[in-house]
Each structure stands twice: as C-alpha cells, then as structure tokens.
Amino acid sequence: MEVISSIRPLLAVMVSLIAACLIVLTGERARNLRELWTILASVSKFIIVASMIPFIIQGKTLEYTIISLAPGLLLQLRVDAFGLLFGVLASTLWIATSLYSIGYMRGLNEHAQTRYFFCFAIALSATMGIAFAGNLLTLFVFYEVLTIATYPLVAHKETPEAIKAGRKYLAYTLTAGVVILLASAITYRLTGTLDFKPGGFLAGHASADMLRFLFVALIIGFGVKAAIMPIHEWLPTAMIAPTPVSALLHAVAVVKAGVFGVLRVILYVFGPGLLHDSGLWLILAYFVSFTIIGAAMLALAQDNLKRRLAFSTINNLAIIILGAALLSPSAIKGGMLHMANHGFMKITLFFVAGAIYVKTHKENVSELDGLGRQMPLTMGSFAIGAMGVTGIPPLCGFISKWYLCLGSLEAHEIVFLFVFLTSAFLDAAFFFPIVYRAFFKNPKEDVNPHFNEASMFMVIPLMTTAVASLVLGIFPNALVHFYEIVTLAVQNILGG
C-alpha cells in the first residue's frame, strides 16, 4: 500500500479548532459572525475530508506525523479507508447540524450559545482526530478531548438534572478512559508499537490470559461510549442535552467514536484471525446481541421521544459491533456501512425531535397525535428515518442490514440472523406508532391542525438528511463513495 505524506488530515483536525478560537473571540456581540465561523469551518472541513477520498479509493494511505514521543510511539494521523468513512460521515453531518443548531439555539433563545458552538467545534476536531488517528495512543488523546469537549454540552441546560447528567457522563467516560489507557500501555509494552494494522498486530505477542484481559479492557473502555449494555446508562441520561447535541454527538460523533474504537480494536489491533482462534468473538457477539434485543425492548417502554431514540441508538450501535464481531466479510461490510447509514437516519430522527420541541415544546410520544398536519415535512422526514432504521427498502438501512444478515450466514451462526431480524421487528414496533399517531390520529386541541413548520434552518437540514438516506439506499455509492470505501476497508482487513 502506497503511503503519501500529506498535511490534509492535520488540516481537517485543525480547521474546527481554529474556528473554535474565532468563535470565542467573536462571542455574543456579533452572533451572525460567530455562526459564520461555524458554517465556514464545517464546509471547509468537509471539503478537506472529501479531497482525500480520491487518494483512498486509489488504494493509497495519507499520513501525517505530528511528533514522535518514543520509538514506536508517534502522535500520528493516518487516513485509511475505515478512518475516512468515519471522517466523511462526521464532517458531512456537521454541516447539516451547524445550520440546524443555529435554528434550534435561536428558536429557543438559549443561553451560553458561544460556549455551545465553541465546544461543538472542539468536539468535531476531536472526532476527526479519532477518525484519522494512526495508532491507539493518538486515538486515545483525541478520545479524551472529545470527552471533555462534550461535557459542557451535556450539562448545557445547567438545571440540577443536566448537571447530574454531566457528572454521570464524566464518571462513565473518564473511567473508561483510564481503562483504555492501562490497556494501551500494556499493549505497548508487549508489542513495542500501537500502530493500527489491518488484520491486527497483537497476534503472537501475549499469552491467552493477557489477550483476554486486554480484549475485555479495551472493549469496556470503548464500549462505554458505544453504550454497550450494561454500561449504557449515561446515554439516555445525556438526552437532556440540546437536541443538536443529541443528534450529532449522541447519534454520530461521540457514540460512533466509541463504536469506531471498538471496531479498530477488533479489526486493527486484535485482528479477525486472532479473535477467531481465541473464540473471543463469539463472547462479544452474544454480549452485544443481548444489548441489541434489550435496548429495543427498553425503547418500547419510553414515552419521551428522545429517550426512545437513545435506546434505538444503543440498539443500532450494538448492531454495528455485532457485524464486526462476526468477522465474516459481509458482516464487517454491513457493520461499517451501517455506521454511515445509521448516522444519516438517526440524525434525521433527532432533528425531528428537536424541531417538534422548538415549535411545540412537546417531548413525549403520547403528545404527538395529529402533528403530521401541522408539521408535514418534519413528520414526513421522521417516517423516512423510521423506515430506514427498521430496514425497509429502498432506504439505506436495508442495504446495511442485508449485508449483516448475509454476514451472519457466512459466519455459520444462524442465531445472529434471528437477532438482526428480531431487532428490525422491534424497531418497527417502537417507531411506527409514532408515525401512526402523527398522521392518522386526530389532533388533540393543543395541536394546530394547519401547516406551521419550524424554522427553515431546521427543516431544510432534516429534510436533506432524510433525502440523503433515501439516496444512499438507492445508490449506496452516491456522493461520497461510502460503498467503495467500505469495500476497500474490508479488503484490507481480510487481506483479499
């Protein structure tokens, strides 16, 4: 594989960091200018990330070494296919979220908006860093930055509840952080390197017991952000954050950073071969299957719309991990695709929840009767997103779930096929009643039966992501070449 030294990955990380400084300097006095920085940063970040796609598709790797700490220990950014997938996903959705945030924050006349946009920009820098990290240490550095940057966003409302949610978030994620740190340190001492390698680098370096310990520690460490049960509790609690935060961070950036970490550990640290021989994959697979079903069951019981979405997120994150844990080509491909696809669909759903909240201050599913008449565009997008997550063609959720189902057959584990199917069934069970209520039930007296949408700043982004999930369902390779990138990543890992 050809490696090109390039400053692009660093630029992709830095651009929002610079924007964050500009945002603070501009402050509340010139709100439009401050928002301009956010939008400029998001667009230029996307352009920088997108400019790397051609290189990757040609099978090259972009690399930028920030500094060397010790032999075999670099702070290094390296863009491979899998990292690019995550980078493209996060940077694309940040554009939509930036516009949406402006509508949301101004619509609610929120306080501390400068802090909000500042932290958001830092969080995106960290996400890019995670996506492009070339080794476990670099990944960890950005992972911790992400933790700290999102803490003020979770506690944004500053109500006692929100502060408590912030504490809980920190308690979970910082504990996970030190676990990762210990495991990385041990890995470094065992192998003398932490560089990600498709197919893993740990084989032959450690005893079976040590491998088991490292695997558990790393999966727990990254699994906290990926909200694997039973360490998922922070995520529903964190739904107290403003909706754009839940949308981008708690459906895409933060939780997917966790999933990304788990996948890096499975595929690039341990490697399919090692996991298969040690049988660890099966344990993880059963474990996340439990999460898939459990989270879906819990979602059924939630009346708060955002909490229901949160449990659906937990369910989907576990699906992605299960895909990777099955270790078969189609399953990995499906898992990676689902990472991208789920991002588009789930962000639509969260955007809808936020639009409803801004417009009507409703947060509960039971209050949504007839809302489709007032907000047809919004609820229509919700219907698309809901169908997508369930996995109905021609939406993109279908494609990833199709590969996942194929993958479980390739792995000769029919049990997991049923896990996927049951999960899809449950998805339908907790999403379709919402669609039904909105469009087919008669409005209660507090719902305005006439067209009265939320601000266009919010409606346009949410419709765009809804349309995108439709387009990605019909042309999986459209726009940003997700399908090709994923295929390449799988090829690299499985050495095909």
């Binding site: 920030i66 500094i67 060397s68 700490l69 010790a70 220990l73 702070l75 609610l108 006349n109 929120e110 306080h111 501390a112 908006q113 240490l137 960890f140 550095v141 911790e144 930055v145 933790t147 700290i148 003020p152 506690a155 409302k157 500053e158 109500t159 006692p160 509840e161 502060i163 912030g166 504490r167 920190l170 910082l174 504990t175 952080g177 030190v178 676990v179 740190l181 210990l182 340190a185 041990i186 470094y188 001492r189 201050h361």
Partner: protein, 498 residues
Amino acid sequence: MITHAPILIIVTPLISAFFNILIGLWRRWLCYPFVITVLSACVFSSIAILDTVINYGTIHYKLGGWTPPWGIEYVIDHLNAFMAVIVSFISLIVAVYSKRSIEQELSEKIVYFYTIYLLLVTGLLGIIVTGDVFNLYVFLEIASLAGYALIAIGEDRAPLASFEYVIIGTVGACFYLLGVGYLYIVTGSLNMTDLSQLLPNLYHSKVVLVAFAFLMVGVAVKMAFFPLHVWLPDAYTYAPSTVSALVAATMTKVGAYVMIRIMFTLFKPYFSIELLPVTTVLGWIAVVAMMFGCIFAMAQSDLKRMLCYILIAEVGYIVLGVSFANRMGLTGAILHILNDAFMMACLFSVAGAIMYKIGKRDIKDFRHLHRKMPFTMAAFTIAALSVIGIPPTCGFFSKWYLILGAIDAQQWIFAVALMISSLLSAIVFFRVIENTYFEPRVPVHAHNGGTHEEIKMDEAPLSMLIPIFIMVAGILTLGIFSGKIISNVIQFAVPASF
C-alpha cells in the same frame, strides 16, 4: 563566563539579595525590575549549563580550585541541569507574577519580600547544583529559612503555620544532618562522587543503613511526603499567594530531586532496590499519599487548601515513579517533576489572581467567576485537566510513563492506583469547574436565555495573566514535546544501570 555558570547561578541571586535591600531603601519601585533582571540572568545561566551538559556531558566545577574530596565540588549532570532550568524559570515567572499581588498583600514589606525571595531561589538552586552532601545541607537550610520567613509574612494565621513548619522542618533538617554525619564517620568524605565509591564496601554496616534512613526521612519531611506532610496544608494555604505559587512548584520538587540523588547517586541503585526494600515501601506509601491527597482535597472548601492536598498527591506520584526503580518509572517521575512544577505554579497563581480580584478563596464563592475572570478560569481549567491527566496536556504524558513503569515493574496494583487517583482528582477539579461555570437553574419551559444577570468582565491585571498564560502554554506544549525532552535530557538523567 559560561565556564563559571555553575557558581554564578548561586552567587548572582545571593549577592543580589543584599544589593536588593540597598536598592530598595533608595528607590522602592526598583526592586521589582532588579529582581526580574537577576532571575533572568539565572534562567540564562541555567539554560547555558543545560546546553553545555547536553553537548559536552557532566560539568565538574571545583569551588576555589580545591580538588575534591577536600574542596567542595559542584557536579552538574543532566538531572541537575534540568532541575536548575525548571527552578530558575518558575522563579522568574512567579516573580513577574508577584508585582501586583505583593503590592496588594504586602505593600509595606516589598523590599524585604524580594530579598528573601532571592535567598530562597539561592537555596533551591544551591541544593540542585552542589555535589557535596554537607553543602547541600547548608543550602537546604537557606531555602528552608527563607521559606519560613516568606510564609510567616502571609495572612493572620500564617505565623502559626510557619512556626509549625519551622519545628517540623528543623526536625527534618536534623535528620538529614545526622545522616550526613554518620556517613562522614564511616567514610570521612562528604563528596557525593567520593561517597558513592566508598560506600559499597560498607553497605552492610548498620551505620550506613541508619544514615540512609535518616537522609530519607529528612528529605521526606522537606518534600512533604506522606505521612510527613502535616506542615504543608497550613503553611502553603496561609502564605502570600506568590509564595505559595513558588514554594508549591519548586520546594517539593527539589526535595524529590534530593531523594533521587540519595537513592541512585549517593547510594548505588542496587542498594536502594535490592539490599533494602526501600522502593517497595516507598511505593506503598506513595500510593497512600496519592489516595490521601485526593480524598482530602475533595473535602476542602478553600481552593488553596484543596490545591495543597493535590500537591501532596502529586508528590506521591513522583515518589511512586521513583519506587518502580526502572527506566520508565523514573522517566515518568522526572518528567512529572517538570510538569507538576508548571501545573502547581499555574494553579496557585490562579488562586492568587482570584484572591487578588474577589478577595475570597472559598469554592462556593466562585459562581459566575468565568464571566468575571474568563481567562483566569480558562487557565485553571486547563491546568486542572492536566492534573487529572487528560491528553494532550502534559500531565497525561508523565502519567503514561508512570503507568509504563508500573507495568515494567509488574506492579499491577500500583497501575490501578494511578488510574484511581486520576479519577479522584477528576472529582476534585470538576467540583470546582462545575461550581464556576454552571449555575443550577430551575427547569423552565420557556427559556429566557438572555437574562443572565449582567456580570462585567473584571480580569486580573496583565502582569498576572501573562505569567499564568506562559505556564498554560507550557502545560499544553510540554506534553507534546515530551519525546524531545526525554530523548535529549531525561534519558541521560536516569541511572545507566536501569
């Protein structure tokens, strides 16, 4: 000039201390620029020394041309040179910072303050450069006496706290001196290099064992190593803000340096590791110190007092690194000396800036402070993240090497202890951060965001902010460049046998 840098670095502040009084009696305002100039000269010579050491190896400077072991010899290797740069640099930064704070807190005593300040720096630098155990004692006493005096001129309860410190500190110094005496009895030498060659034959002598124990206890008192830390919280809390910043950042670190010298230069590493189970004992005590420091810090409502307990925990980190007795652990410990000097100087300076502006130290009074003093609190937050060990701040990198050290030493419990103490310090600091940045609001549906009560920005003066931000810059960059620092300096400071 450069060849005499080792002695100049001590003589300059020493002589200047006396000139400072004369200058001060003539024109009081001249003291500040004078002290800054002198300390800049110290920083310059210490950097020159470090440069020489890096390029040409260890410097042996014979005082007055007397050959050791009869004369006093200054031996400067990578470790001392590194320490000298840290101490002189922090003293300079804190001196820059001191201007407004001293004008407010001690307007009557500015001249005497700076005089003693210079003496303290003399003592600290002397401890670092000397290669003679008795000479080290002399400087230890200079530094300590200057420290007692500086602390005693603080607020109301400072004299009592200082008195407590005098008693315990003197006991510590006596222990050290007794240790030196015992070594002199059996070897007839006071020169460190000479002693390290004479001692191995006597390692089984009871006298040497007792001497070692006395030296260690004496140093442990000076560096406030648990459980000999009791003097520290009171003394550093009630001292003037500037003094707290200086002594917190340097005094304990210099103590740690002396401990490393005694264990690995004066005595051969195999004595401290194999003949006596010192490292094991130290390791366990260090773990207790870390836990104790963090837990007590949680219970404090006074910011400075809280920082004092964090300092005790940080000393624990350094000793823990030393106790691993391997390359990674000691690298972590030495790196942490540097990082912690910056973190502590920054945190105590911030505490001083807050005192200067609002006159309070109680964490409960910090509400909305981020709007009144946004830069100061931003600096506090970054330093706090560094203490917790969040990358890319420097605190993370020393923790990384400490954990590697624990792994190499196969001390899993210590590795876990490092993780736990890092989480405990997160609780300590996020309590303050939460209290400052977030105001508990009643949940309301219709947000009326714009109705934050107007709080005008009222920042600390620039003469405080600039030094604080230099330290913040240090905290943010030292970690990233830790690889360079280790490969150029620290790896040579670690005993070759590791």
